[in-house]
C-alpha cells in the first residue's frame, strides 16, 4: 500500500516535471487569436452586414465606385487566393463585404480570408513561415517588414505595378515607402493605412483655463509650459497636462528628439545616440515635467488607468500626441470636445512619423497574378474608400472617408498637410532588432521615471545595453 501511494505521488509529480508543465492553473486560457474567431458573429455569406456596415450601404457604395483595372490577366480557371489580415470584429464585416464584391467582379478568384487579432498575427505567420506554408497575400506592419524582406519571404511588386498603368504611385505617401523596400530599392509591400501623429487637445480643458488652443506656431517649449499650466486635481480627479510621457518606442526620435536635432539611434540604426546631446536635453525636459511638475502620468498612473485606457481618450488629459487613426474613436465619443493641431516644432524643425501597414505578396505564392489583381483593388483609392478606414494610405481617400465617418474636415486638412509637409520615416526604428531595442531600453527608462536612476545613468545604461543588439540590424 505504501509503495503504491508513493509511486502514484511520484508519478503525479514526475510527469509534470518532465513535461515542464506542472498543473495548469496559470496556463493560457484564452489566446488573443481567438478573439476574432469567436467574436465574429456568423455572417450571411451572400449578404454580410451589421449595424455599423449594413449590407445595403455596402452594395450601393460598391456600385457607385469605379474599380481599377490591370493588364495582369485574369486566371483562366478557378483559383483560391489565401489572404491573411488583422482585423477587429467590426472591420471584419467590411472585409467580408469587400471580398464578396471582389468575387463578383472576378468569378475565377475565390478568396480564403484568414483573420487574426493583431497581437496574435505575427506569431501565427512566423510559425507558418517556419513550416514553409504562408498565404498568398499577407498583412505586414512597418516594423516587421524588413525582417521578412531580408529573408526573401516576399515578392517584389515593381513588375506588377509596371503592368498596371492606372496604379497611381503618386497618391501613396512617398515618405513612408522605405519601410517596404530592400537595399536595392525594390518595393515588396504597398501601404494600406499610413498616418501621421498629431497634437490632439481637449477643448473643454483649454476653455476652462481660458487659454488659446494649440496651433502651428507652437513649439515643444510652448507645449510643455501649457502642460504645466493645465495639469490639475489629485487622484481620481486628476487631469494631466500631457499624456503619455515619452518612453523608448520606435518613433520616439521622430516625435520628441529630432525637433531638437537628436535621435535614439543613428539614421542607419547601427549606433546609439540617445545618451548624447541634444537627445539628452530633450528627454531631461520630459523627466522634469514628470518628476518636478507632475503634469504627465507617472509610471504607476500610466499603468493603472482603468483597463489601461489612454487618459486623453477619457477626458483626463489636456493634450496628447497620437496617431491619426484615433480619429474614428474621437469622432464617435461625446464626453468632451476635442481638436487637433500640428505636432509642435523644435529648434531643429517639425517632424512627425508616417507609420502604418501594408499588404505584401509572398514569394512562394502559386497565384501571383490573382494576388496582384486583389492587391490592385484592395489598395486602390477606390478600395480604401470602400473600406472607410480613417487613415488611408491613399491620400485621395482621406476626405471622402472622413466625411463618411463624421471626422471634422479641418482635422483631416491638418493630417494631410502633415503627411505632405513634414511626416517622415526618418528616425522611425524599423530594422529587425527594433522590438528588442525598445524592450531593453524601456525598463531602464522606467527606472529614471521612478527616480531610481538619474537621467545620465539611465541614458548611459541604455546605450551600453542597446549597443550589442544593433548587430542584429545588419541585413543583407
Amino acid at each position: 500500500m505504501e509503495m503504491n501511494r508513493r509511486h502514484l505521488l511520484a508519478l503525479a509529480v514526475a510527469l509534470p516535471v518532465l513535461a515542464a508543465c506542472g498543473d495548469n492553473r496559470q496556463q493560457p486560457q484564452s489566446q488573443t487569436s481567438s478573439v476574432v474567431k469567436s467574436g465574429v458573429p456568423q455572417l450571411d455569406a451572400n449578404r454580410p452586414g451589421n449595424d455599423t456596415w449594413p449590407f445595403e450601404e455596402a452594395e450601393a457604395l460598391n456600385k457607385s465606385l469605379t474599380w481599377p483595372t490591370t493588364n495582369v490577366p485574369e486566371p483562366a480557371s478557378k483559383v483560391t487566393l489565401t489572404v491573411a489580415i488583422t482585423s477587429d470584429v467590426v472591420a471584419e464585416v467590411r472585409n467580408a463585404q469587400f471580398d464578396l464584391f471582389f468575387k463578383q467582379r472576378h468569378p475565377n478568384i475565390e478568396i480564403k480570408r484568414e483573420t487574426s487579432a493583431f497581437d496574435a498575427y505575427l506569431t501565427k505567420y512566423m510559425a507558418q513561415a517556419a513550416g514553409g506554408k504562408l498565404p498568398d497575400v499577407m498583412y505586414i506592419h512597418y516594423s516587421w517588414a524588413q525582417n521578412f524582406i531580408a529573408n526573401d519571404i516576399f515578392q517584389s511588386l515593381d513588375d506588377y505595378i509596371a503592368k498596371t498603368p492606372a496604379f497611381d504611385m503618386a497618391d501613396l505617401p512617398q515618405n513612408a515607402l522605405g519601410y517596404f523596400k530592400d537595399g536595392a530599392g525594390k518595393l515588396y509591400g504597398l501601404p494600406t493605412d499610413m498616418a501621421p501623429k498629431l497634437l490632439f487637445y481637449n477643448k473643454d480643458v483649454f476653455d476652462a483655463a481660458g487659454v488659446d488652443y494649440p496651433d502651428d506656431s507652437w513649439t515643444f517649449d510652448t507645449m510643455l509650459d501649457m502642460a504645466r499650466k493645465l495639469a490639475k486635481g489629485e487622484g481620481a480627479e486628476k487631469v494631466y497636462g500631457f499624456t503619455p510621457m515619452p518612453i523608448p518606442a520606435p518613433d520616439l526620435s521622430t516625435i520628441f528628439l529630432m525637433p531638437y536635432g537628436g535621435g535614439f539611434l543613428s539614421q542607419d540604426e547601427m549606433s546609439v545616440e540617445i545618451n548624447k546631446e541634444p537627445a539628452r536635453k530633450a528627454l531631461g525636459l520630459w523627466l522634469d515635467l514628470l518628476r518636478k511638475d507632475k503634469a504627465t502620468p507617472s509610471l504607476a498612473e500610466l499603468n493603472q488607468v482603468l483597463e489601461k485606457v489612454e487618459p486623453f481618450k477619457i477626458g483626463k488629459a489636456a493634450m496628447s500626441i497620437q496617431g491619426a487613426w484615433i480619429l474614428t474613436e474621437l469622432a464617435k465619443q461625446k464626453a468632451f470636445k476635442w481638436g487637433a493641431a500640428p505636432v509642435p516644432k523644435g529648434p531643429a524643425g517639425r517632424f512627425t512619423p508616417a507609420v502604418g501597414s501594408a499588404l505584401a505578396m509572398t514569394a512562394n505564392s502559386q497565384q501571383k497574378d490573382a494576388a496582384w489583381i486583389y492587391l490592385n483593388e484592395y489598395l486602390s483609392s477606390t478600395g480604401q474608400q470602400f473600406r472607410r478606414i480613417s487613415a488611408p494610405a491613399r491620400q485621395s481617400a482621406w476626405m471622402p472617408n472622413a466625411e463618411a465617418l463624421g471626422i471634422p474636415k479641418d482635422v483631416i486638412e491638418i493630417a494631410q498637410a502633415a503627411m505632405k509637409d513634414y511626416a517622415t520615416s526618418d528616425g522611425v526604428m524599423h530594422l529587425p532588432a527594433n522590438k528588442k531595442i525598445v524592450d531593453t531600453a524601456k525598463p531602464i527608462w522606467e527606472k529614471a521615471m521612478i527616480g531610481d536612476l538619474t537621467l545620465d545613468q539611465a541614458l548611459q545604461q541604455i546605450a551600453e545595453q542597446v549597443t550589442p543588439l544593433l548587430a542584429e540590424n545588419k541585413i543583407a
Binding site: 509529480v13 516535471v17 518532465l18 495548469n24 517556419a130
Partner: protein, 304 residues
C-alpha cells in the same frame, strides 16, 4: 472441460496486480498523449537550444552559444530571482490560505455547499477576465483594496505601477482561483479518521493541539503534493503576468516563463528560448528533488 483447463492455466490475479493494472489503464490516455504530443517537441527543443533559429531561415548550429549567452545575461538572472520570489511567495501564501479555507469549508455548517461553490467559482473564470478584474481591484485610486485601506487611514501603494509592490500584488492575486487546491485539501481532510480526533479529545487536546498534532501530520502528504505542484506551476507562471504588467515596471515582474515567451514569440529567438526552457526545466528538477529530500523530515504517511 475446456473451462476447467483454462482456469487451471490462468493464475489467480492478486489484489495488488489488479490495482496495478487499473492504475496503468487509467493513466495510459495521459501518458500516451504525453509521449505522442509533448515528447517529440521536448526532444526537439534540446536540439533547437544548440541552434540560432529565427523561424524565417533554417536553424544554424551554434553549439553552446545560447547557454553561454544565458549565463552572461543579466536579465536571465533577474528573471530567475523574480521567479523564486513569486514562487516562494505564491506557494507559501496559497498553501496556507487554502488549507485554512478548506478547514473552514469542512465544518458542518449551513449552506456548506454554497460556500464551497462560491470559493471554487474563481477557478473557472477565464485568465484574461481574472486579470482585468484584478487590474481594477488593485487600481491605486479606484481599486477596492486601496479603498478599504483608506477606510482605516492607510494610503495604499501603487501596486502594479510600483517596482516594490507589483510582485506582492501578483502573489496576492495568485491565491485567487485556488479552488482546485481547496478541493484536494477537502478530500484529504475528509480522509482523516474521526477516531484520531476523538482519541486526542480524550487526551485533553484543545483545538490547536488537534490541528497541529492530528490535522497537519495527517494532511502532510496532501500539503506536500500541493507544495510541489504549486511550485512547479508558479515557476512557469506567465500568462496573467503578461496581461497585467508585461514584466514591468522596470522588469520587476519579469519572471522566467515570461522571459522565455518574450524570446520565443516576440523576438523569435527560438534557440535562446529553448536554452532558457531547459534552464527552467533544470530549476524545476532541482527544486523538486530538494522538496522530496526535505519531505522525509516532515511528511507523514499513515501506512508505513
Amino acid at each position: 472441460m475446456t473451462a476447467i483447463s483454462l482456469g487451471r492455466r490462468r493464475r489467480p490475479v492478486s489484489a495488488t496486480r489488479r490495482e496495478a493494472r487499473r492504475f496503468h489503464l487509467f493513466v495510459s490516455p495521459w501518458v500516451i498523449g504525453f509521449v505522442l504530443f509533448s515528447g517529440g517537441p521536448i526532444l526537439a527543443s534540446i536540439v533547437i537550444s544548440f541552434t540560432k533559429w529565427s523561424l524565417l531561415r533554417p536553424p544554424e548550429w551554434v553549439g553552446l552559444a545560447n547557454y553561454r549567452k544565458m549565463f552572461a545575461d543579466a536579465e536571465f538572472w533577474n528573471a530567475v530571482s523574480n521567479t523564486f520570489y513569486y514562487g516562494i511567495g505564491s506557494v507559501a501564501l496559497g498553501v496556507t490560505f487554502t488549507l485554512l479555507l478548506a478547514i473552514l469549508l469542512n465544518q458542518p455548517l449551513r449552506f456548506q455547499g454554497l460556500f464551497r461553490t462560491v470559493f471554487y467559482m474563481p477557478s473557472v473564470v477565464a485568465g484574461v477576465a481574472t486579470a482585468l478584474l484584478w487590474l481594477n481591484i488593485l487600481h491605486p485610486d479606484y481599486g477596492l483594496i486601496n479603498k478599504l485601506l483608506a477606510m482605516v487611514g492607510i494610503t495604499g501603494p501603487g501596486w502594479l505601477g510600483s517596482t516594490e509592490w507589483a510582485m506582492p500584488a501578483l502573489i496576492l492575486m495568485s491565491v485567487w482561483g485556488s479552488g482546485n487546491t481547496i478541493i484536494i485539501y477537502l478530500a484529504g481532510l475528509q480522509g482523516i479518521p474521526q477516531t484520531l480526533y476523538e482519541a486526542a479529545e480524550i487526551d485533553g487536546a484543545g483545538w490547536w493541539r488537534r490541528f497541529w498534532s492530528v490535522t497537519v501530520p495527517m494532511m502532510s502528504p496532501v500539503i506536500f503534493f500541493n507544495v510541489v505542484t504549486g511550485f512547479i506551476a508558479s515557476i512557469q507562471a506567465y500568462t496573467l503576468i503578461l496581461i497585467m504588467t508585461e514584466g514591468g515596471p522596470a522588469n520587476s515582474t519579469m519572471v522566467l516563463g515570461l522571459y522565455i515567451y518574450q524570446n520565443a514569440f516576440v523576438y523569435f529567438d527560438m534557440g535562446y528560448a529553448a536554452a532558457l526552457s531547459w534552464a527552467m526545466f533544470l530549476i524545476v528538477i532541482v527544486v523538486t528533488l530538494i522538496q522530496f529530500g526535505l519531505a522525509r523530515r516532515w511528511v507523514h504517511y499513515e501506512f508505513k
